[in-house]
């Protein structure tokens, strides 16, 4: 039988058993998958250890969340570099409306 006509959509991903790429993967891909699974499992184990610890008194710190928040709030400008898209957005949304308003209100 050929593979089923199930196609993935926006809210339903293709399960890995129906994906033809799952069945002829190289050892490197397998190794990468195993590594990712090991990392995920390690993080999950740490989380569950803290979650089920009866003498825990606070929240569980999620270092990824903290890094993301830091990057979004405080670390924006040190990594800023003017690119064409950046400059266009700045001119369009930062300076354009001011000029437009000035010309209309004058």
């Amino acid at each position: 039988m050929s593979f089923s006509n199930y196609k993935s959509s926006r809210l339903a991903a293709l399960p890995s058993t129906l994906d033809p790429a799952e069945y002829d993967t190289s050892p490197e891909t397998r190794r990468a998958q195993a590594e990712r699974l090991a990392t995920r499992a390690r993080l999950k184990r740490e989380y569950l250890l803290q979650y089920n610890n009866p003498s825990r008194r606070g929240l569980i710190e999620n270092p990824a969340l903290l890094r993301r928040t830091y990057a979004r709030t405080t670390n924006v400008y040190p990594n800023f570099r003017p690119t064409p898209k950046n400059s266009l957005m700045g001119a369009l949304f930062g300076i354009g409306p001011l000029i437009f308003l000035y010309s209309r209100c004058k």
Binding site: L59, T73, T74, L98, C105
Partner: protein, 459 residues
Amino acid sequence: MLKMVFSTIMLLPMTWFSKNNMIWINLTTHGLIISLIPLLFFNQTNSNLINCSAHLSSDPLTTPLLMLTAWLLPLMIMASQYHLHNESPSRKKLYLSMMIFLQISLIMTFMATELILFYILFETTLIPTLIIITRWGIQAERLNAGTYFLFYTLTGSLPLLIMLLYIYNDLGSLNIMFLTLTAQKLTSTWSHNLLWLACMMAFMVKMPLYGLHLWLPKAHVEAPIAGSMVLAAVLLKLGGYGMMRLTPILDPLTEYMAYPFLMLSLWGMIMTSSICLRQTDLKSLIAYSSVSHMALVIVASLIQTPWSFTGAIILMIAHGLTSSMLFCLANSNYERTHSRIMMLSRGLQTLLPLMAFWWFMANLTNLALPPTINLMGELLVVTTSFSWSHITIMFTGLNMLITALYSLHMYITTQRGPLTHHITNIKPSFTRENMLMFMHLSPIILLSLNPSIIMGLTP
């Protein structure tokens, strides 16, 4: 007036000589008693100043702000109790002394008759705020925040000093009563244009105007709760107050000199409101919402119609109370989860239902729900800016929409939805916290019943 200034000065010895377990009780009680005194100033039948002395006076523009400042001191003291309870007594007393020193300078700033006295006290308020932010803030970014705060404001206000001295030389007196009578109309020469700019820049930085607002999110986020409260509620209003004092003498130039600032404010309202929708940090959201509301006040102050001044004053009072309440709520979340990330403290309505009510009321007043005074102020400002130029309604209307969006986003994220499972240590609400929110909300509700007392110079 002396009742207020001397009582507040005497709070300083009371801090240092109180027994360690009586500091909070003494200061809060006496702060509340002092806050009753500006109520005596409210009964003014005309817009002449209540002349308390040769140097300090109080008029219908000043009195609401004075009342706000006086009311806020006991609230700040109540809010700081938790994060200071592990510190040594002398450090606690030092923190409270900083707050009281700030309070003294603020009371005298709002009551100053001479503009030079106003300027000196304006600068004096920077120092205790800087100390509160940099010493008692929590993260390492507070040093950066303090630097931005101090130097932005100082750079803006040094030209103001030069201009005030020049005007003093020119007119002979900087008394507010005489200023409109003896001022001469400015001509459109280059030096008079610079005079206008120099006078206004200090207040633009303080308000803050959109292009110069960079210090505000940093300072608000890094400050401890009392610092955030006083910054949002009172220090921003110093800018508005200063602008309203100085615009009568800067008269004919304001018509064309104000355009860049009006454009920046109108566009800045929308930009900062939109940024609020993308914030992860709760205090940062409230800080940007402050910039957005203050942009409305800038628009109102620069248009200079009677209704817009009224709208500006009402908006300043309303925003002071609302913003301070939001910061207290954010702080109550922070004390429990030790993180300012909004997503970490969601679904709180099931755990803390009364606090959910305060959150609800704070967000409703933030989005200017009728019949609160927030709406009164915004309505007056929107109406007058529409009559000034028809196109502004696009921006102010869009701003009101986006304000509603982010206020509801804040409410829904923190209160509704499922709880986070891994946070097991959310303590129930303290009576102190509920009292704090009630004391923020009740002036808003009472003033909504009678806003004519805060309507300022032209009721």
